[in-house]
Amino acid sequence: MSSVLYDVPGPKARRISLIGSIVGSLLILGLLAWIIMTFAQQGIFEGRRWQIFTRADVWTLLANGLGATLSAAALAAVIAFPLGLLLCLLRISDAAFIRIPTRVVLEFLRGMPVVLMMLFVLLGFGTSPFIAVVTGLVLYNSAVFAEIIRAGIQSLPKGQREAGLAIGLTSFKSRMLIELPQAIRRMMPSLVAQMVVLLKDTSLGYIVAYGELLRAVQVMADFLGTQFLFPIFFVAAAIYIAINILVSRIAVWIERRGSKKAAGGVAKAEPEAAEAAVP
C-alpha cells in the first residue's frame, strides 16, 4: 500500500529519509541507554544477581512453572474447541428456542473478564486452582471459538448449504459435512491466534494462586531474596514471550499457506485474520 501513496523518492527525499533514520535510531538508542543506565545504578547487572541461574533448582522451579502453564493451556484448548463447535451449532440452529438462549449465554461469557470467571469457580465451587484456571479458560475461549467458527460459516457462499440440502442431506449433515470443514479451514489463522490468547491468559492463574510460571517467579523472589526478582522475572518473561511469538508465527504461516492454496478459486479467508486478534 505505502508504495503507491507517493512517488519513488528522489535523491533529496532519500537523503532526508536517511537523516531521519539516523536521528530516529539515535533517539531510540539513547532511550535504551538511559534505561540500561538506570538499571545499572540499581545494580541489576552485577554478576552475583545472575549467578542464581547456575543453580539447578532455579531451573527446576522455572520448568515446573512452565509445565503448569502449558498443561493448563493444553487441557483448556482441548476441551474448549469441541465445546466451541457445539456452541456454534446451537447458535446457528434453525430453532429459535435454542438459538436465542445460546446467543445470550455467549454474550454473557464473552463480556466477562476471564479472571473473574476463574475466581468465581475457585471461591464459588471451592475447586483447586488448576480446575479454576482451566474452567475459566474453557468458558471464555469456547465462546470465542464458537463466534469464530460462526463467522467462518457465514462467510461461505450461500450455495454451499443450498446444494447440501438439495442433494437430500439433513440440515445437521449439511453443517457437519459441507459447511464446517470449509469454515474451520478458512478460520484456521483466527483459531490459532486465539490459541495464543488462551496461552497468554493462563498467566491470570497467578491471581488465583495457580503455580504457573509467574507464580514460580514470585515464589522464588520471596524465597531467595528480592534482589533476584528482576533476573528471574526477566528470564520468565522471555520464555513466555518466546513461546507466544512462536505460536503467532505458526498462525501467520498457516495463513500464508492457506491463501496460496486459495488462489486457485476457493474463496479467500478474511484478510489478516491472524493479525487482527483481540487482546
Binding site: P113, L119, K200
Partner: protein, 216 residues
C-alpha cells in the same frame, strides 16, 4: 442479594474506578497506537523497525506479566508510584496500544490499492490521497475492531484488581473474602457491572459495523 444491596456503594466505587482506568488507558492507547501505526508505514526505517518490534513483543506478552512488571518490578528498580493506578494505566495502555496499532494498520491495508492508484493518477499528492481517499475508507473498517479492543480493555482492567488497585474486581475479591457464605451472589454482582459496560459497547460495535459496511 442482600449482600449486593448492602455493599452497593463499594460496587459503585469500583465501577467508577474501572471506568476511569479504562477511559484513561483507552485514550493513551489510542494515541500511542495510532502513532505506532503511522511509524509502521513511514518511510523512516528506524521508526518502522521500532514499531514492528514493539508491536510484536507487546502483543505476545501476557497482560499479567505487563502488570507484574509495572506494579512489582518497576518499584524495585527505583521507579516509585504515588498510587498504583499509575502502574495499572502504564501496563494497560502500553499493552493495548500494540493491538490498536495492528488494527489501524490492517484498516489502512484493507483499502484496495486501486483506490490509491486512481487518486494518484488524477494528480493528487500524498496528503490528498491519504486524507481524501484512503483514511475515510480505512476508518470505516477500523472502528468496529477498535471498539472490540476497547471492550477487551475494560475486561483487562480487572487484572489491576490483583495488583493493589481497588476497582470492580478488587472490591469483588475483597467482598468475596469477607462474605464467605455468599461468594456466588457477590461475584455475580461484579459480573453484572462488567456487563453493564461490555454489552452496550458490543451492541455499538455491531451496529457501527452494519451501518458502515460497504460492499467490496
Amino acid at each position: 442479594m442482600d449482600v449486593i444491596l448492602e455493599n452497593l456503594p463499594l460496587y459503585w466505587n469500583g465501577f467508577l474506578r474501572t471506568l476511569f482506568l479504562s477511559a484513561v488507558s483507552g485514550v493513551i492507547a489510542l494515541v500511542l497506537g495510532t502513532l505506532l501505526a503511522a511509524a509502521r508505514v513511514s518511510p523512516v526505517a528506524a521508526l518502522r523497525g521500532f514499531s514492528t518490534v514493539y508491536v510484536e513483543v507487546l502483543r505476545n506478552t501476557p497482560l499479567t506479566i505487563a502488570f507484574f512488571f509495572a506494579a512489582i518490578v518497576l518499584p524495585r528498580l527505583g521507579v516509585k508510584f504515588e498510587q498504583f493506578e499509575v502502574a495499572a494505566i502504564i501496563a494497560l495502555s502500553t499493552y493495548t496500544a500494540a493491538f490498536i496499532a495492528e488494527a489501524v494498520r490492517s484498516g489502512v491495508n484493507s483499502v484496495p490499492v486501486g483506490q490509491a492508484e486512481a487518486a494518484r493518477s488524477i494528480g493528487m499528492n500524498f496528503g490528498q490521497v491519504l486524507n481524501l481517499i484512503i483514511l475515510p475508507q480505512a476508518l470505516r473498517t477500523v472502528v468496529p475492531p477498535l471498539i472490540n479492543i476497547l471492550i477487551a480493555l475494560v475486561k483487562n482492567s480487572s487484572v489491576a484488581g490483583a495488583f493493589f488497585v481497588l476497582e470492580l474486581f478488587g472490591y469483588g475479591r475483597q467482598l468475596a473474602n469477607a462474605n464467605g457464605d455468599a461468594v456466588i451472589p457477590v461475584l455475580l454482582g461484579v459480573a453484572f457491572f462488567y456487563l453493564l459496560l461490555t454489552v452496550p459497547l458490543g451492541i455499538l460495535a455491531s451496529t457501527v459495523e452494519r451501518k458502515v459496511a460497504i460492499a467490496r
